[in-house]
C-alpha cells in the first residue's frame, strides 16, 4: 500500500476531503458549525477551570491582583486563542496549497480601553481590548506574496479572530440555585 503523503504534520488529501465535505455535505457542515461548548468552574480566589470535551484549561489572574498566578488569565488566553486560531488557519491554507512551513509564530498583544469599568470605578466605556495586534513570523517554502495571501486568508477566515472583530450577540442567562 502506498504511504500517505504528509505536509506540515498533516495529510493534504485528508484535509482536502474534509474541507470539501464541509462544502458538499450539510450534515458535516452542521457538525463543524457547533454548538461548541465550555463549562467554567470556579476554584476559589480568581482561579477557574474550563472543561471542553475531554480537555481542561486552568485560569488565574496575575499576582498584582492578589491572585495566585497559577495559570494564564482569561484575557491572555483570549489572545492565545486568537493566535492559535490564526495558526490553524494559516497551516490549513498552506497545506491545501502545498506550501511547506518550517517555523511559525504569532505574537499578539492588546491594551484594555477602560479597565476601570471592570474594577467598578467607571460606569461607561469598554473594559475590553481597544485593539489587538497580531504579528506573524513565518519561515516557509513560498514567496512573500503567497505567504501574505495565506496570512490574509487566515485572518479573514479565523472564527476566533472574526468573533473578536465583529459585533457578536452575547446571550446571558442567570439562575440562582
Amino acid at each position: 500500500m502506498a504511504e500517505e503523503k504528509t505536509l506540515n504534520g498533516l495529510r493534504p488529501e485528508k484535509i482536502k476531503a474534509i474541507t470539501d465535505s464541509m462544502r458538499d455535505d450539510p450534515e458535516v457542515l452542521k457538525g463543524v458549525s457547533g454548538p461548541w461548548k465550555s463549562r467554567v468552574v470556579w476554584q476559589g480566589g480568581f482561579r477557574a477551570k474550563a472543561y471542553m470535551r475531554k480537555h481542561v484549561v486552568e485560569m488565574d489572574e496575575p499576582e498584582g491582583l492578589d491572585a495566585t498566578d497559577a495559570a494564564a488569565s482569561a484575557h491572555e488566553q483570549l489572545l492565545s486563542a486568537m493566535g492559535s486560531c490564526l495558526t490553524v488557519g494559516f497551516v490549513l491554507n498552506a497545506t491545501k496549497r502545498g506550501v511547506r512551513i518550517h517555523d511559525l509564530e504569532v505574537a499578539l498583544e492588546g491594551n484594555f480601553a477602560n479597565i476601570l469599568k471592570w474594577a467598578g470605578h467607571s460606569p461607561d466605556g469598554n473594559p475590553g481590548y481597544s485593539a489587538v495586534k497580531a504579528k506573524l513570523f513565518v519561515r516557509a517554502d513560498a514567496d512573500e506574496k503567497t505567504l501574505r495571501e495565506l496570512w490574509r486568508f487566515a485572518v479573514e477566515g479565523s472564527p476566533v479572530t472574526q468573533t473578536i472583530a465583529r459585533p457578536t450577540e452575547i446571550i446571558t442567562e442567570f439562575e440562582k440555585i
Binding site: H102, D103, L104, E105, A107, E109, F137, R139
Partner: protein, 387 residues
C-alpha cells in the same frame, strides 16, 4: 603575525549568504541533502566571498562563515553531545519566560529565529570545528587567513542550560573544562594548517555589562545562567587564558560587539567599552577586534588608560547600513585612534560580520564589497601618511 603593511585590512568573519546557499542550508538541516552535497554549494559561496574580499583589497581573508548556520551554532555538526535548539524549544526550560518574552518583543524577533547549541550529553569532538573551513580557505587564497571561532565563555554560557545540560554537567564550570580542551585542540590544528589569525568571538560579554540583570537572556545567543557581572568577566578571562595558554605562532584576537542580528540600531545594546576593557586587557591575546563605527560603541577616549597595551582591530564600517563610508571619514576616525595606538597596532575592519546569522544577513554582497573597498582606500591613504 608578521604584517609588513601598516593598517592591515581584514573582516570580522561572516559574509552575506546567497539565497541558494540558505536554501541548501535548510535542505541540509531537514536531512534532504547530505553534508557533502551542502559543502559543494558552500564551496562556491566561499570562493565568491574570497573573490569579493581579494578584489576589495582585504589583506587578511576569512571564508565568510558560509558553512555555518550562525557564528557559533555550527558546532553542533562538529561535536557529539550538542543539540541545536531553538529558543522556542528552550522556552519550556527558561525560568523567567515573561522576561524572555519582553526581550523578544523589544527585538521584534520570533523565538524560532534564535538558536543555540545545547550540551545535552558529554561533549566530545567528532571532527575539527573549523579545520574544513581553514583547509579550503588556505587552498584558495594566497593572502593571510583568519578563522573566527566561538570563544570559550560564549560557548560555555550558551551551551549550558539548566534542565537540559545538568545531567551531563552538574555545573557549567564542568562543561567549561571540556569546552576549553576542545578549543585548544582546534587552535592547534588551525595553527598546523597555517592559519594566520584566530579570532575568538565573545559577543555575549557585552550582554554581561550592557544587558539587563536577567540570569538567563539572549542577545546573539540564548544564554543560560550567569551570576554577577564581575564573576562572569573573571570567568571569561580565565577561560580565555586557559584556551590560549602557551600557544604561540598564531595571532589571537577577541571580538566583542553589541549584537548584529538587526538593522534597527535601537534594538541592539549600547555602551562604551570602558567597563569591559580592564578584563579584555587581561586576556592573553594580541588584538581586540572591536566595533567603533556605530555610535552605540561610545567614545574612543576609553582607550586612554590602555595606550598600546594591545593591537586594535578597529571597526570603521557599520555592516548594517546602506551608506558606504567615505575613505576620508575613515582616515579621520583612525587619526583620532592614533592618539592612543601606534600605527603598527591598528588593523582596520568592519564592526562585525555581514551575515552573522545565515538567515538574517544584514547587508548585500555588493554593499559589503564597497564597504571593504572604502576601508582599503582609507588604509592606503593612511600608509602614505604614516609609512
Amino acid at each position: 603575525m608578521a604584517q609588513k603593511k601598516l593598517f592591515p585590512v581584514t573582516v570580522v568573519g561572516s559574509w552575506t549568504r546567497p539565497a541558494w546557499l540558505v536554501s541548501a542550508l535548510r535542505q541540509r538541516q531537514a536531512g534532504e541533502i547530505t553534508a557533502a552535497e551542502f559543502d559543494a554549494f558552500a564551496d562556491d559561496a566561499v570562493l565568491a566571498a574570497i573573490k569579493y574580499q581579494e578584489d576589495a583589497g582585504v589583506d587578511i581573508i576569512a571564508d565568510g562563515e558560509m558553512r555555518r548556520d550562525n557564528f557559533y551554532s555550527f558546532v553542533v555538526d562538529k561535536l557529539n553531545g550538542m543539540r541545536l535548539m531553538k529558543l522556542s524549544q528552550l522556552m519550556d526550560y527558561v525560568k523567567d519566560r515573561a522576561g524572555f518574552e519582553e526581550i523578544l518583543r523589544a527585538l521584534d524577533v520570533p523565538a524560532f529565529a534564535i538558536k543555540s547549541p545545547i550540551a545535552v550529553e558529554k561533549v566530545s569532538e567528532r571532527d575539527g570545528l573549523c579545520t574544513d573551513e581553514a583547509r579550503f580557505l588556505k587552498e584558495h587564497t594566497h593572502r593571510a587567513t583568519k578563522i573566527p571561532i566561538p570563544g570559550p565563555y560564549l560557548l560555555t554560557r550558551s551551551s549550558w542550560f539548566e534542565g537540559l545540560s545538568d545531567k551531563a554537567y552538574p555545573t557549567r564550570e564542568e562543561l567549561a573544562r571540556d569546552v576549553v580542551k576542545i578549543l585548544r585542540r582546534e587552535i592547534m590544528r588551525l595553527k598546523d594548517l597555517g592559519v594566520d589569525f584566530i579570532q575568538l568571538d565573545e559577543p555575549s560579554l557585552s550582554q554581561v555589562v550592557y544587558g539587563d540583570e536577567a540570569e538567563q537572556t539572549f542577545m546573539c545567543a540564548a544564554l543560560g545562567s550567569r551570576s554577577d557581572p564581575t564573576h562572569e568577566l573573571e570567568f571569561a578571562v580565565r577561560l580565555m587564558n586557559e584556551t590560549v595558554d602557551g600557544i604561540d605562532g598564531v595571532h589571537f584576537g577577541v571580538h566583542v560587539c553589541r549584537g548584529n542580528w538587526s538593522r534597527k540600531e535601537n534594538v541592539l545594546l549600547q555602551g562604551n567599552y570602558g567597563p569591559l576593557l580592564p578584563w579584555l586587557m587581561r586576556m592573553n591575546v594580541h588584538q581586540l577586534v572591536l566595533e567603533m563605527a556605530t555610535p552605540r560603541a561610545g567614545e574612543i577616549e576609553v582607550f586612554k588608560e590602555y595606550r598600546n597595551e594591545k593591537e586594535l582591530g578597529l571597526g570603521v564600517s557599520n555592516p548594517r547600513t546602506d551608506e558606504i563610508e567615505k575613505p576620508e571619514a575613515i582616515v579621520k576616525r583612525v587619526k583620532e585612534v592614533l592618539r592612543y595606538f601606534d600605527p603598527d597596532k591598528i588593523y582596520l575592519n568592519p564592526d562585525c560580520g555581514f551575515g552573522t546569522f545565515a538567515e538574517r544577513c544584514v547587508n548585500s554582497s555588493p554593499a559589503a564589497y564597497h564597504k571593504l573597498q572604502a576601508i582599503s582606500e582609507a588604509a592606503e591613504m593612511l600608509r602614505k601618511e604614516c609609512g
